[in-house]
């Protein structure tokens, strides 16, 4: 069976094509201000990537903060359900999954079938979302993709007082003025967001194996800080982690009627 999962997020819209439990195509475009257009474009891109026609799709699952704009969807998949299904899809041993996107973070406790047992969310505060790291990369005048590796080169734990993104911006500027090394500031930034995410995960309990998804999982500085904060040697991350929720939506769509 071939299904598609579309995740319309705050920043990017991602589509995954699933054929009998295998990812055969992907597409991602910036969401911008026209969500419907982004959905259409990302679906077309994924279909082209998979080399199949739209009418070959059995079903389409839609998820994400912009799920209402996915008119093509046959089934609306709740975001929590999507990440739980994705965690189970990639790592059947997963008990806890966290997904951190540009503007939201969520965590779910899952059973061995990928069903949601409990969940926690943050959609109110940028301090626990990708937007935080983006703002810090601007304050530190360091490109986003260099920020994580830079943090890994530091062994100094300097505390950040600010939790709020807006206050942290001023604090980073203050640290630069105080001639603190960029790598140390970068590590403090990642420790700070990891602390926010872990406090969200703790609300549902930390049960290994822990899976991390969402665009933020690309950042090695964040992953290292997360592992430190969780006290775990390994946090499981799928390939192309930003497609996590889309994979989950496609997997849920495939399960319907079974």
């Amino acid at each position: 069976m071939i299904t598609a999962g579309i995740d319309c997020g705050a920043k990017n819209t991602k589509t995954v094509i699933l054929n009998d439990g295998e990812i055969v195509g992907r597409g991602s475009v910036p969401t911008g201000f026209d969500q419907a257009a982004a959905v259409k474009k990302s679906l077309e891109m994924a279909l082209k990537n998979a080399g199949i026609k739209k009418d070959q799709l059995e079903r389409i699952g839609g998820t994400g903060s912009g799920a209402k704009s996915i008119k093509q969807a046959d089934v609306a998949v709740n975001e929590i359900k999507a990440i739980a299904a994705a965690a189970n899809f990639f790592f059947p041993s997963a008990k806890t999954v966290a997904d951190v996107g540009a503007e939201e973070g969520r965590a779910a406790k899952v059973d061995e079938k990928g069903n949601v047992v409990d969940f926690a969310m943050n959609e109110k505060c940028a301090a626990g979302a990708g937007a935080f790291i983006e703002a810090m990369s601007r304050a530190l005048e360091t490109p986003l993709e260099q920020l994580g590796p830079l943090a890994l080169s530091s062994n100094n734990a300097i505390p950040m007082n600010a939790q709020c993104t807006i206050f942290a911006e001023s604090e980073v500027v203050g640290l630069i003025h105080a001639k603190t090394e960029k790598k140390d500031i970068s590590k403090a930034i990642h420790d700070s967001i990891a602390a926010r995410i872990v406090s969200m995960i703790r609300r549902i309990g930390v049960n290994p194996d822990v899976v991390m998804m969402g665009g933020v999982a690309y950042n090695p500085g964040f992953v290292a800080a997360l592992q430190r904060e969780l006290g775990l040697e390994k946090v499981y991350i799928p390939d192309m982690p930003e497609y996590g929720a889309a994979v989950g939506a496609a997997a849920v769509a495939a399960k319907i009627g079974k």
Partner: protein, 295 residues
Amino acid sequence: MAEAQKPEYWRWLETNWVNPDIKWQEVQFITAGIDVGSVSSQAVIMADGKMFAYGNMRTGSDSPDSARNAIKFALEKTDMPESRIDYCIGTGYGRVNVPMADRSVTEIACHARGANFMYGSEVRTVLDVGGQDIKAIRCDDKGKVTNFLMNDKCAAGTGRGMEVFSDLLSVPIGEVGDRSFQIDSEPIAVSSTCVVYAKSEATGLLRKGLSTNEVLAAYCSAMADRIFSILQRVGIEPEFAITGGMAKNKGVINRLKKKIGLEPMKTEWDTQLAGGIGAALFGLALCQKGKGRVK
């Protein structure tokens, strides 16, 4: 080609003042209170409990320097040497980093004490909206704190949040209040709590066709909501006073007033001085007990 410097819309006016009627040579105790906040710093110099001089300026990246600059600024229009000060108390976010302070006192205690001086002994609820925090303080007729609540974790509703917006909308911060009322009808308040998300929401509102003034109104209203929810948790007992920089923003205060249904008390003093005044008064009390500096 040199890039044109963007005006600093968020920058507010720095002021200093001296009381021409006070001759410091004839005063028994000169006490100073230095409030090093996260965004602004004030130095207040009092002569036997009367306002003698003050300086109010932006906090720099270094607390000790900010304290030094503030006291220098406060003394600028006087001919009194700094060494004449009998006692100095540091308060505020950077209070432990005030090099010339004999001791430090928390800003909650200082704000209540300062408000008691500025508004009179009838004040029972003090709302302080500063650069990076919101404090709701209940106090007695001596200006002693009986209960308080503070938010210093989140920029929503704080002065820094408003600075970010004045910058985003290119409106000088001193004009935000007036301009937020130059509208045909009151828009719906910005719904995002987080300032980062409120910025995106505001950009979206502009794109939808709202005027800059309407977006300012929508944000002032959101700020008033946020501040009101903190005030409610501590309970509002009259008389009620507002201190801190936000007290100067009519756009937020008039909307907040409507929600509370109470008229805030008025003062002749700069509302940003409450912490510094309280600190200077605590210093005076110590001097009067013979616990001042040994000279």
